[in-house]
């Protein structure tokens, strides 16, 4: 069993703390590293891959430190986020070069096998510079798989892929995880992680916000209060009607002189509604408005951005 273990790992760049006291163990199977942009996911992966020294704490692979330990790469395959490769060569030449750099006994066979795994055999003799983004991603994958490593680290592997390529990669990574490899990928997209990962590690603002299996995190996310911004022809009357129902826990009038146009209630630019049972609130709102003869202009979920979902998890 191969496991990447982080013990109280922090990393700061000058005054900026990119990763703050993270302790986690990544074991066999597919793990999703989820978090908004700038959460420290890449920094964390760079440390796991031995490209960055932790400012404090330790990163080990089966007990061996990964920092400044070149031999560790016999067991790690890395798919970097950046696209640049040696693009003056063909896909096959590049994967072959990677096999040779690993010092594999039969580099040509290993390269052919890796290219077949990512289904790039047909296009292998074209220059990398002519490849589409998805093809480049698959070649990157092939270079990481060429030495058959037990650990696979992927930094935002789905970026820029079309849906079909996405499905292929999901299938491939699932298969890798099912074979007992330790597969870690980072993503800022909930649905990708949901579809693929057996377990999830959530990073927010450099901190390890949550971990566990997906259903657990999903439950935390759906059970959180939802906020809506509502504009109507009579915000005050609507507020009174809405708070009377049990699906909301709070209603606030937004004062904003600039946005009052069209509102009968001068001085209020809308309502901020805190819904505890959002499914019920969404059904209720139009019925209440119709009954009171109030026109709804705008109903906008205020906090559906990933950042607010994450910050809810952190604040919890």
């Amino acid at each position: 069993m191969t496991a990447v273990v982080l013990q109280q790992v922090s990393r700061w760049f000058g005054n900026v703390v990119a990763v703050n006291d993270v302790t986690m163990t990544i074991g066999p199977g597919v793990t999703g590293l989820l978090g908004p942009n700038g959460a420290g996911k890449s920094t964390l992966i760079h440390m796991m891959a031995g490209f960055l020294a932790p400012s404090s704490g330790t990163v080990t692979l089966d007990g061996e430190p990964v920092w400044q330990n070149e031999q560790i790469y016999r067991r790690i395959g890395l798919v970097p986020e950046r696209e640049a490769m040696y693009d003056v060569v063909t896909g096959r030449q590049f994967v072959l070069a990677n096999a040779e750099l690993h010092g594999l006994p039969d580099a040509a066979a290993a390269a052919a096998r890796a290219l077949a795994t990512v289904e790039m055999t047909d296009a292998q003799d074209r220059d990398i510079s002519t490849y589409s983004k998805g093809m480049k991603q698959r070649i990157k994958m092939a270079t990481a798989l060429v030495h058959d490593p037990p650990v696979l680290l992927l930094d935002e592997p789905f970026n820029g892929m079309d849906p079909r390529q996405r499905l292929q990669l999901i299938d491939l990574l699932r298969a890798m995880g099912a074979e007992g490899r330790t597969v870690l990928f980072s993503s800022h997209i909930l649905e990708e992680v949901e579809r693929l990962a057996d377990s999830i590690q959530v990073m927010v603002a450099g901190r390890h916000a949550a971990s566990g299996d997906f259903r657990e995190i999903r439950r935390l996310m759906t059970e959180r209060p939802h906020q809506y911004t509502v504009r109507s022809s009579d915000d005050r009357a609507l507020a009174a009607a809405v708070i009377a129902d049990g699906s909301t826990s709070g209603v606030e009038l937004i004062k904003d002189g600039a946005a009052v146009a069209g509102s009968a209630d001068l001085g209020a630019a809308g309502l901020q509604v805190q819904a505890t049972d959002y499914a019920r609130f969404i059904r209720l709102l139009p019925q209440v408005a119709a009954r009171q003869g109030i026109r709804l202009y705008d109903v906008v979920p205020a906090d559906e951005s990933l950042e607010s979902v994450f910050s809810y998890l952190v604040a919890r």
Binding site: T43, I76, Y86, V88, V89, L101, T143
Partner: protein
Amino acid sequence: MNATVAQLTARSLLGRRRVLILMALPVVLLLLCGAIRLLAGSDPQVGVGLLGGFALGTVVPLLGVIAGTGAIGPEIDDGSIVYLLSKPLSRPTIVRTKLVVASATAIVLSAVPTLIAGFVLLGTTDRIAVAYAVAATVASITYCAGFLLLAVVTRNAVVIGLIYALVWETVIGGYVPGAQALSVQQWSTALAERIVGAKAAQDGVTAAVSLGTAVPLLLAVLIGSTWYAGRRLRSIRLTGDD
């Protein structure tokens, strides 16, 4: 040495039409020599002026900058060096291999044209052609080592290298006595002076430093830069987007 690293380095250094651009300087050198030989005949003073001033003073340092930084700088900039670093390869091996490729490129494109230029200008007179070719070879290797280190240490290696090559070596190194002691051009000229021998002073092949000073300094730059570049490459930070 690692053959695959060498191959990838050579391809990115000379790939596409880059080699044609690199050939511009030696071509200018050879054209200039041809023209001077036709117009001024074979004059050791004129020949040494061109070999020392233009070939050793400008073409060699410029190609040193291009080959030395080009062997590793672009890979660090675009992040593709990660494919070399994520392998069980020692970092010093990567540096040494890239130095060999860069040096070979610089020698072929500057020292060899210097030798040809010397023969065109002066024939075999006083071994001046060979002397400058040897000096250019040694200077090329030293420059490549220094600029390769520079490219590992800073993203602005090309700019700093060009300023060094053009301002320090060509202008200051040529005129300011104190600066000459810290000039690869002067160190390698000391070699040329020794090869030309007794008639060196008469032909104008004179270095500001003695051979006894030059050789240790050349070796110090070569060995020191290569060692330190390997060390720095072990802890190089790859910029991510996060």
